[in-house]
Amino acid sequence: MSEAADSRIPVTVLTGYLGAGKTTLLNRILSENHGTRYAVIVNEFGEIGIDNDLLVESDEEVYEMNNGCICCTVRGDLIRTVENLMKRKGAFDAIIVETTGVADPAPVAQTFFMDDDVRDAARLDAVVAVVDARHVQQRLKDTKEAEDQIAFSDVILLNKTDLVSAEELAGVEAAIRKINPYAKIHHTERCQIAISDVLDRGAFELDRILDLDPEFLKKAEHAHDHECGPDCDHDHDHHHHGHDHKHDHDHPDHECGPDCDHDHEDTHSVKSYSFTVGDLDPKVFFDWINQITQIQGPNILRMKGILSFKDDPQRYVVQGIHMIVEGNHQRDWRDDEKRESRIVFIGRELDGAALKTAFEACVAE
């Protein structure tokens, strides 16, 4: 699958709370002279200042799929709109979906996996969240949606950084990192950002899971397996954001003692867990991942993994949204790579210790 070029239309989903700056970002993307033609699906025409033939207003219509699963929801209006856009295939190169501030990003993302026609025509490129640096902490306290949007995102624009102090900004970033340590965070004022940092990210392409984000799992690994000491000589440069050891204390292995100095006022229910083991037994693993996503699907927001199956020369990559899991062989393991199996869950009310035990039980005899 890595050989064939994917000719499907890329789709970028923009999320973010009301007033965070989504429209500013959208206007910026549309007004920049980049030669790409966008079809834009918005909930309200509102303040989109750009005259665009392919700007369409679409009421968010969340449908439950008729399969008895409460988290298998899709956006019916998006299915229709994408079908309509496909009647004008030559008129645009990419699609941007702007969601309302209170929207749950899951049905939007799931639409691009659960509907066969949409999936044949379009591929989800990335979920991008615009976060208001000044108000996000309050939003996180008040609402579930703000947390979901951050948890779901591949790229986060921490916007309006000029309106907060450096200390506040560091606090906001730490709060975001607690929910989602794997998204790329960009600090912006008035959403000033290189368009290439937002679009064409390939965040849902199994092939690019690692290429795109080399620290995606490395970081998780070190959070769990490695205590950083003063003599540490490995690379601590996690670009775009400072190296924050605080969030590492959040993992399930940590027993809080009386001397603990980290932040216990954490009201977030969304957390991420990552685990690393050796070669897996594929049968045991697939049985487990299918079962866990069936049972805990509603609580699993995102899942990604790079796996090593026993006696298999190829790496296996896997990703999921709620109950949807997809995976494929990616490429041969390289000689200079350490063969291991790493998996990450971002979710709400997940039992990290149980996940860890179960994942470890998938190790091949």
Partner: protein, 325 residues
């Protein structure tokens, strides 16, 4: 093989229709192309043409577009603007009795009467499909969790037919006894209107996106499988307890479009790979009408006598196939 007169359009063929002897092909890019008439092409919508359906008298094509306009296109290439809903994408359209036209966008549908008067109808969730009853001014609207039947001219509460799930297309059987919807899941749902008896038609590997009633409404032909699936509707309880016909079975390509012959027990079948076949009901005899190529078949239409078949594909290939001179 029958003779084909090919025609190139500039985009996705949204619909094919015969307006008398002239074949009309609506292109997603916004124009209607003609074969056999005085005009070859006429621009209709500025911002994409999303839906089209022939008027009941068969003399014109009613179109809806991304420019919010509803237009009436005639075989001579003339275009009459019937209505406009600015900034809306009109992607659902139905032609009704007495030159009425229904169209919808989002949670609102409108019916334009011959007089020019426009009536508005609202639903709490989006309209997904529209169909006029064969008799009387009654409009069926498919939606999430069922169908709503509106009276167009008379006062009175609309009738609700409920079935859980997202319904897409809606169609009345020709004599008006049954109402059938296609669904987001790979299934059809039907109601016997006399007593609202539910009918479930399942087993499709793909979504059903094309349906066509055979002559006298005996069968409903559908896409969504590697064969055309035809449900029998001649008994008292419709297709319940009966096996459908499977015609034009292929192992390597899905059926995308079906169109039943206007008088004979025969169906034209268009496939994902561009092939078109005609298949007879009683013996499954197949005639190849078009070889694969140029994208999935997206539109099929017979002329009134059933001598010629117009086809179009998602990649803009189109043409008229003459079976009987």
């Amino acid at each position: 093989m029958p003779v084909t007169a090919p025609l190139d359009t500039d985009g996705f063929v949204v619909s094919a229709t015969f307006l008398g002897d002239v074949a009309a092909f609506a292109s997603g890019e916004g124009s209607v192309f003609f074969a056999g008439g005085p005009e070859t092409q006429t621009p209709v919508h500025k911002n994409g043409l999303l839906c089209a359906t022939p008027s009941l008298d068969g003399k014109s094509l009613i179109t809806g577009g991304g420019d919010g306009k509803i237009c009436k296109v005639s075989a001579d290439g003339s275009v009459e603007e019937l209505a406009e809903q600015p900034r809306k994408w009109i992607d659902i359209i139905a032609a009704g009795p007495q030159d009425s036209v229904a169209y919808a966008s989002g949670r609102t549908a409108w019916v334009r009467l011959k007089s020019g008067e426009i009536k508005e109808f609202q639903l709490p969730r989006a309209f997904a499909g529209l169909a006029f009853a064969p008799k009387g001014m009654r409009l069926a609207a498919s939606r999430y969790d069922g169908v709503t039947l509106f009276w167009v001219n008379a006062a009175g509460d609309p009738q609700e037919l409920s079935w859980k799930g997202a319904h897409s297309l809606v169609t009345y059987s020709p004599e008006g006894k049954y109402l059938v919807t296609t669904m987001q899941e790979n299934a059809l749902h039907g109601w016997r209107l006399a007593d609202s008896q539910d009918m479930r038609m399942t087993g499709y590997p793909g979504k059903v996106k094309s349906v066509s009633w055979s002559a006298k409404g005996k069968y409903l032909a559908t896409s969504g499988a590697q064969a055309a699936i035809l449900w029998p509707f001649m008994g008292k309880s419709g297709p319940m307890g009966q096996a459908p016909l499977e015609l034009g079975v292929r192992g390597d390509s899905m059926v995308t479009t079906v169109c039943c012959h206007p008088t004979e027990e025969m169906v034209a079948i268009g496939y994902q790979d561009g092939m078109v076949m005609a298949v007879r009901f009683h013996d499954n005899a197949e005639v190849l009408l078009r070889r694969p190529g140029a994208g999935p078949v997206s539109a099929l239409a017979w002329d009134k006598k059933g001598n010629r078949l117009a086809f179009g594909t998602e990649e803009g290939a189109a043409g008229v196939i003459t079976l009987v001179d």
